[in-house]
Amino acid sequence: MLIDILITSLINGSTYALLAIGFSLIFGVARIVNIAHTAFYMVAAYCIYFTTYRLGFNPLSAMITGIVFVSILGLIVYKIFIAPIREHEQAVLIGTIALAIALQEIMMLIFTGDYLSVPALIKGYATILGVKVFYQQLITFASVLVVLGLMRLFLMHTKLGLAIRATAQDREVANLMGMNESRVAMMAVVISVGLAGATGAIIVPLTTVEPFMWSHPLIMMMAVVVLGGMGSIKGSFYAAFILGFAEAMVVFLIPSGAFLKGAVALSIMILVLVVRPTGLFGVQFEEEG
């Protein structure tokens, strides 16, 4: 039981962490509240389904194709729809909502609303402390850690990463220091959407693929971002596992837990916010006039 809870919470927590970091990134740099973030995660999942079953790719190349495809899609959509209206915060907001609905409907048209599944990279399971742990779960968790580590390396030790952090901290000054703000924003969008795609790719063998799969992760992702504090990757990381653990506890320990899992996790978020209005590790962004 305890191990079950632990595994579920680690898997869910790592998904939320990856999604939340991508979402934070795009919010921090470009000030876009991207509701369509998890819609890209859904598109990546469908893309992998399509390439494995209809085109016969092997799972690994399907994953890479999925991530690349979603990143390019994100870039195109950003260029066409979001960039021209970036200065209008509210318009961007519902633009991304509309985008999420549009992506959901397109997937619905192409693949219908059926529940689909994708094969695991490696089949079989190991027995740890008497509990079955699928290899796929281990791979998923390991790859999440790898991606998170790479993200940290990228943000802390590359020039572009520095530019992204600088822009997130102060857009105007970063611009004055010679960073091309709109190009940095564009790169942040590509990386963020790529991360969403990667999350989809990593998690897809463990879940069912359906057009509405984006809405629950969306809520949890936002809760994670708020709980951890906006713009704090460390915060997102801890908050993701806290909420993932809370969710798993409720599901396993309370009889009608599946209905309450979102409610309990979100109540925890609100309780924390009452005490700390900027989340666990957050800083309040200065309001920009």
Binding site: A91, I94, A102, V226, L260, A263, M269, I270, P277
Partner: protein
């Protein structure tokens, strides 16, 4: 008799000097007349149903604008108020036997309580934190709705509420007149002293505090007012559909109201109302291609925003009306000089 003549004359003068001089006011007048007279000329049940639902959602959208547009407290979980209103009304109607005229306001009062309950923890949150946190509230409530099916009917919801009125026409008039009255009240609120404070809180909360105004109080008032109107909309919806189900709390309901308001133009009250009356029938029209319906809707919203990021209706208004640079009175775009101060408009 003289009194009547006086009032008629006054009405005529107001129409001539205040209403017919501006195309936007003529449009509002035509809108009022159309929704009031349409069923007398053409009583198609399908069309009336669409108009009734559009009216209910117009109240809902305007109440979002009152809170999020005017006071700047962006609320991503507005479905909470709608759902609480709907469930409150349904429980009072079914369990306590309240008739609709009592259960709907009582349900709205429950929604006010919800507004205060949500408002209190949210007082310390700002901007995007607030938006993302409010998203959580309807989801939390939905969890409880599912976990106590004895009270709330669980997944199926509560059905079998009493009708608003016996006949379809009466139903229509109850909802539409309520909508017109409530929207006018909301518009008046935003135009009042309190509305100015709401405006100021959105623009610069610190400055309002420095001016000696208790912003906490006004923010809570905004939450409760908005909750009240949204709760009324929810109650009307429950009695009209005769069911209060979990769909009233869904995340898509919260997003829908944001789409309507921003599409129509925020901080106007009339913008969201107009947007509902444009988008809701449009969505019904797209029913010709059932599988493309949502997609077309999303694409229309995206394309309109691409060219009119401030919203559709303010954009239209700025095309047909100009503001006088000297006295700030609006004039029809065809005029060369201001209708009040005769300043040159170009």
């Amino acid at each position: 008799m003289n009194l009547l003549r006086y009032h008629l004359r006054k009405l005529f003068l107001i129409l001539k000097n205040e209403v017919f001089v501006l195309p936007s006011r003529i449009v509002v007048l035509l809108f009022f007349l159309t929704v009031l007279l349409l069923p007398l000329l053409y009583d198609d049940p399908y069309m009336m149903r669409i108009l009734i639902l559009a009216s209910i959602f117009a109240i809902f959208a305007a109440s979002w604008d009152l809170l999020s547009g005017f006071t700047g407290q962006i609320n991503f979980g507005h479905a909470l108020f709608f759902g609480v209103g709907a469930y409150g009304t349904a429980i009072l109607n079914l369990r306590a036997g309240f008739p609709p005229w009592a259960s709907i306001p009582a349900g709205a009062l429950v929604a006010v309580l919800a507004g205060l309950l949500v408002g209190l923890p949210c007082l310390r949150l700002r901007g995007t934190y607030l938006a993302l946190t409010t998203l959580a509230f309807p989801i939390i409530l939905m969890g409880f709705v599912f976990s106590v099916p004895e009270l709330t009917g669980g997944e199926l919801g509560l059905s079998g509420l009493s009708r608003l009125a016996r006949s379809r026409i009466a139903n229509y008039y109850i909802v539409v007149i309520t909508m017109l009255v409530l929207v006018t009240v909301m518009w008046k609120i935003t135009d009042s002293h309190m509305g100015i404070i709401f405006h100021a809180i959105r623009e610069d909360e610190l400055a309002v505090k420095a001016a000696g105004i208790n912003t906490t109080k006004y923010k809570l008032i905004a939450f409760s007012l908005s909750g009240f109107f949204a709760g009324l909309a929810g109650g009307l919806y429950a009695h009209f559909m005769r069911i209060a189900g979990p769909s009233t709390l869904e995340i898509s309901m919260s997003f829908q109201v944001v789409i309507w308001s921003v599409f129509g133009g925020m901080v106007t009250i009339w913008g969201p109302v107009g947007a509902v009356f444009i988008l809701f029938p449009l969505l019904e029209f797209f029913r010709i291609w059932p599988e493309l319906r949502q997609l077309m809707f999303a694409i229309v919203v995206m394309i309109v925003l691409l060219y009119m990021p401030g919203g559709l209706l303010p954009w239209l208004r700025s095309k047909i009306e100009n503001e006088c640079p000297r006295c700030k009175i609006r004039n029809i775009a065809t005029r060369k000089v201001c209708r009040v101060c005769a300043a040159d408009l170009h």
